[in-house]
C-alpha cells in the first residue's frame, strides 16, 4: 500500500466510513464551488470614501505612511519622499504597464530601472492589486509585471495605489482574484502586506525592518 493510500485509509477508518460518494461528496464539491462568505466585519460597510479613509487609518496604524495625491503629483511625491528620508533619487520599479501612466520624465533627477531588484537597490516602486480597508493591507500578485522580490528585498517600498483599488474586506480581494485568474486559480504568490517588516522576537519589543522593507510609503492616487 502506498503512503498516500495508508494515510487516507487511516483517516477513513477513524471517521468510520469509506471514501465519500454520492450526495455527501456533491455537497462538499458544491461548498468548494460556492465558496460562501462567512462573517464579514461591519467596519467596512460604508461608502467608497469611508473605505479610503479607513484604509488610510489602518495602514498608518500599522506603521506605513500614506500620502493622498493626484496622478499628476506622483513623480514629485516620490522624489520628495526620497529626499526627505535622505535616500538617493534612484529606484527599481516594477515592469508594470499601469505605472506608465505617470509622467516620470517630469522628474529628470529620478533614476528608474524596471525589473528585478539587485543588492544595491535601496528603493522599490510597485503598484498593488488592491488595498484592503478592513486592515490597511496591500495586495501584490506575482507575474511578469510584478516580481515578488520587489516587495521584499529593497529597504524602502513605495506603493502606488489608486483609490478605485481600495476595497472593503479581504473577501473583495478574492472576488478580484477570481475575476482575473478564474475560479479556483491563483497566481504563484499573493502577498498581503500590512506596513513594514517587523519583529518582536527580542523582549517582545517592536522593531521594524526585520527582513523585508524598513519603510513602507503608500501613494494613494485619486481618480
Amino acid at each position: 500500500m502506498t503512503a498516500r493510500a495508508q494515510m487516507l485509509d487511516a483517516i477513513r477508518r477513524a471517521s468510520k466510513r469509506g471514501p465519500l460518494a454520492g450526495e455527501a461528496r456533491t455537497a462538499l464539491e458544491d461548498r468548494l464551488r460556492q465558496h460562501r462568505t462567512n462573517i464579514v466585519p461591519e467596519r467596512t460597510a460604508g461608502s467608497q470614501e469611508d473605505r479610503i479613509r479607513q484604509f488610510e487609518r489602518w495602514a498608518t496604524f500599522n506603521q506605513a505612511s500614506v500620502a493622498c495625491i493626484s496622478a499628476k503629483e506622483v513623480p514629485a511625491a516620490v522624489t520628495d519622499y526620497l529626499a526627505a528620508n535622505n535616500l538617493p533619487a534612484r529606484a527599481v520599479m516594477a515592469p508594470d504597464s499601469a505605472l506608465d501612466r505617470y509622467d516620470w520624465t517630469s522628474r529628470g533627477m529620478l533614476e528608474l530601472r524596471r525589473g528585478l531588484p539587485q543588492d544595491a537597490d535601496r528603493v522599490a516602486i510597485t503598484g498593488a492589486l488592491a488595498g484592503v480597508a478592513e486592515t490597511g493591507t496591500l495586495v501584490f500578485v506575482s507575474g511578469p509585471e510584478h516580481p515578488t522580490s520587489l516587495n521584499l528585498l529593497p529597504e524602502t517600498h513605495i506603493v502606488i495605489l489608486r483609490e478605485r483599488d481600495v476595497v472593503g474586506p479581504l473577501e473583495d480581494v478574492f472576488a478580484r482574484l477570481r475575476a482575473r485568474y478564474g475560479e479556483g486559480a491563483m497566481p504563484r504568490t499573493v502577498n498581503t502586506v500590512t506596513g513594514p517588516s517587523r519583529t518582536g522576537d527580542i523582549e517582545q519589543q517592536l522593531e521594524l525592518g526585520a527582513h523585508g522593507p524598513r519603510r513602507m510609503h503608500i501613494l494613494l492616487v485619486g481618480d
Partner: protein, 475 residues
C-alpha cells in the same frame, strides 16, 4: 525532538530558579495578553468569528480525506508535488531526498513547529546539509542550540543581553567585532547576516498555517517577511504541513486569519500573510521552479473521531500559553517537547505517549483561561482532564495521589462522615492559623507551602455549614 516531558517536575524547578527566564516571563504577562484584549475590543464580531472558525475546522476534520485529495489535485495540476508522510521518519526521508536531488548545501527555513516535531534540522545536519533558521527568534535559539520555548515567539525566554552575547560569540567570525547593546542594532546585524544566507540557499523550507483545498494554496503568516524570502529566492520550495491544516476555501481562510492574528499578537493582520500556489509560472520573473508539499500524519489520524478530536482544531496562535499561569511561571522549555503550555499538555501525551508526558496535563490549575481565549474554542481543561483519567486508569499516577483520592472518595460517598471530617479539619486549621490568616507550613502540604502561603479558613464554618445557616438547603 527528544522528549524530556517525563522530567517535567525537575525542569519546572530549574525554571523557577532561573533569573533570566523569570525576567523574560514577567514581560510576557503584560505583552501578548494585553494586546490581544485591545484587538478583540476593536472588533465587535470577534466572538461570532470564533464560533465560525471552530465550525470550519470541525467541518474540515470531518471530511479530511476529501479536502486533502482536492488540495492535492490542485497542486498537481499546477506542476507541484504532494508527498504523503505517515510518520516523522517518512517526512525526514522525503525532504532529505528533495534536498539531495536539488544538490543542496544550505537550506533556509522559516519557523515551522512541524519541522521541530519531526526533528528535521538534526536530520539534515547529520546528512551534510546546513539548515539556516531565518525567523529572528528561531535563528537566535538555533545559534544557542536550544529548542523553541513558545510556538510563535521561540526566543521569548531570553533577555536582550543574552541575545547580544550570542550574536557576539557567533558573528565575530563573520567580521562583526562589536558586542551590541541596542535592540535595533541586534535586529540590523541579524538582517545583514541572514540576507546572505537567503541568497545562497538552494532550498527553502516553510511550514503552513493553512492549506486551501479550493485553490491548492499554502498560507504563510509572518511579521518579518522571512517566510516570503524563504519561498521566493531558492530554486526549490518545500512546504511541510500536518494533515489537519487543510481547510475548504479562501473565505474560510479569511475567517481563520481574522482570529489568528488577533489571538496571537493582538495585530489586526500580520505584516505578511502570503498565499503560495504551485511553482513559478512560465512568465514569472522570480519564484521557485519546484514546489513540494509534504503532508504529515504522525499520529493525528488516531485522534479523528475520538473525544479528543478538538485538539486538531488548533491553529497554533499561542494564546493559551500567553494566558496560562503555569506557562507564565515556568516558560516553555519545562514542558520538555515541541509544544508547550495548555495545548502542549494536550498534544504531547497524544503524540509521544501518556507514560512519557503524563505530568503535563497535571500541571494545570484548571483556571480555564486557555479555553476562554482559544480562537477555535478547544476545551483545553476538559482534554487535560481526559489525560488525567487515562493516566489514573493505567495506574501511572503516583501512589500518594491515588491513596489521597481513594480516601477522599471514601469520605465523599458518606456525607455524614464527610461533614464530620471537614468540620473537624476546619476547626483544626483555624486553630493552627491563629490570627495570621495564612500558613507558612502545613503537614502533608509541604510542596505547596514551600513556594506560597496557604490561606486559613475564614470564620463561619465549612461551606456546608454556611450553606445551611443561610437557608440554602431549603430552596
Amino acid at each position: 525532538m527528544q522528549s524530556t516531558a517525563h522530567a517535567f517536575k525537575d525542569n519546572a524547578r530549574h525554571a523557577l530558579a532561573d533569573g533570566n527566564l523569570q525576567q523574560s516571563l514577567a514581560m510576557l504577562k503584560v505583552g501578548f495578553s494585553e494586546r490581544r484584549r485591545q484587538a478583540v475590543e476593536r472588533l465587535p464580531e470577534f466572538e461570532a468569528l470564533r464560533d465560525r472558525a471552530r465550525d470550519i475546522k470541525d467541518h474540515a476534520l470531518a471530511n479530511l480525506d476529501f479536502y486533502l485529495e482536492a488540495f492535492e489535485a490542485r497542486v498537481t495540476a499546477l506542476g507541484g508535488q504532494v508527498h504523503w508522510a505517515p510518520d516523522a521518519a517518512d517526512a525526514r526521508r522525503i525532504i532529505l531526498d528533495i534536498c539531495r536531488r536539488a544538490g543542496a548545501k544550505t537550506v533556509t527555513k522559516s519557523k515551522s513547529m512541524i519541522a521541530e516535531e519531526v526533528a528535521l534540522n538534526e536530520h539534515l545536519e547529520a546528512n551534510g546539509i546546513e539548515p539556516v533558521e531565518t525567523d529572528l527568534g528561531e535563528y537566535i535559539i538555533q545559534l544557542r542550540h536550544e529548542p523553541p520555548s513558545h510556538i510563535i515567539a521561540p526566543a521569548v525566554h531570553l533577555t536582550k543581553d543574552q541575545v547580544a552575547d550570542t550574536f557576539f560569540e557567533h558573528h565575530r567570525k563573520l567580521g562583526f567585532n562589536r558586542r551590541l547593546t541596542e535592540r535595533n542594532d541586534l535586529v540590523a546585524e541579524a538582517r545583514q547576516v541572514l540576507r546572505r544566507r537567503f541568497q545562497e540557499a538552494d532550498v527553502g523550507i516553510t511550514g503552513a498555517n493553512f492549506l486551501i483545498a479550493e485553490t491548492g494554496s499554502s498560507v504563510l503568516v509572518t511579521n518579518e517577511g522571512n517566510a516570503d524570502l524563504t519561498n521566493t529566492l531558492p530554486r526549490v520550495h518545500v512546504v511541510i504541513a500536518s494533515i489537519e491544516k487543510v481547510i475548504p476555501t479562501l473565505e474560510d481562510a479569511a475567517t481563520l486569519l481574522r482570529v489568528l492574528a488577533r489571538s496571537a499578537t493582538g495585530q489586526e493582520w500580520s505584516s505578511y500573510t502570503t498565499f503560495n500556489t504551485g511553482p513559478r509560472r512560465a512568465d514569472d520573473p522570480d519564484g521557485p521552479v519546484e514546489y513540494h508539499v509534504v503532508l504529515l500524519d504522525n499520529g493525528r489520524s488516531n485522534v479523528l473521531g475520538t473525544e479528543m478530536q478538538a485538539m486538531l482544531r488548533c491553529i497554533r496562535c499561542g494564546a493559551c500559553m500567553n494566558h496560562c499561569p503555569v506557562y507564565g511561571a515556568i516558560g516553555g522549555h519545562a514542558y520538555g517537547w515541541v509544544y508547550p503550555g495548555p495545548i502542549g499538555a494536550v498534544l504531547t501525551p497524544q503524540l509521544v505517549g501518556v507514560e512519557e508526558a503524563g505530568n503535563l496535563p497535571n500541571a494545570s490549575t484548571f483556571c480555564g483561561r486557555c479555553e476562554s481565549v482559544c480562537p477555535v474554542r478547544i476545551p483545553l481543561p476538559g482534554l487535560m482532564r481526559h489525560w488525567r483519567e487515562r493516566e489514573f486508569e493505567r495506574r501511572l499516577t503516583p501512589a500518594a495521589v491515588r491513596q489521597g483520592l481513594a480516601l477522599w472518595a471514601f469520605l465523599a460517598r458518606r456525607p455524614w462522615l464527610y461533614r464530620l471530617a471537614t468540620g473537624l479539619a476546619n476547626r483544626m486549621l483555624a486553630l493552627l492559623g491563629r490570627g495570621e490568616g495564612r500558613y507558612r507550613w502545613l503537614p502533608l502540604a509541604g510542596a505547596w507551602t514551600r513556594y506560597r502561603d496557604f490561606p486559613a479558613p475564614q470564620p463561619g464554618g465549612t461551606f456546608h455549614a454556611q450553606w445551611r445557616a443561610r437557608g440554602g438547603a431549603r430552596q
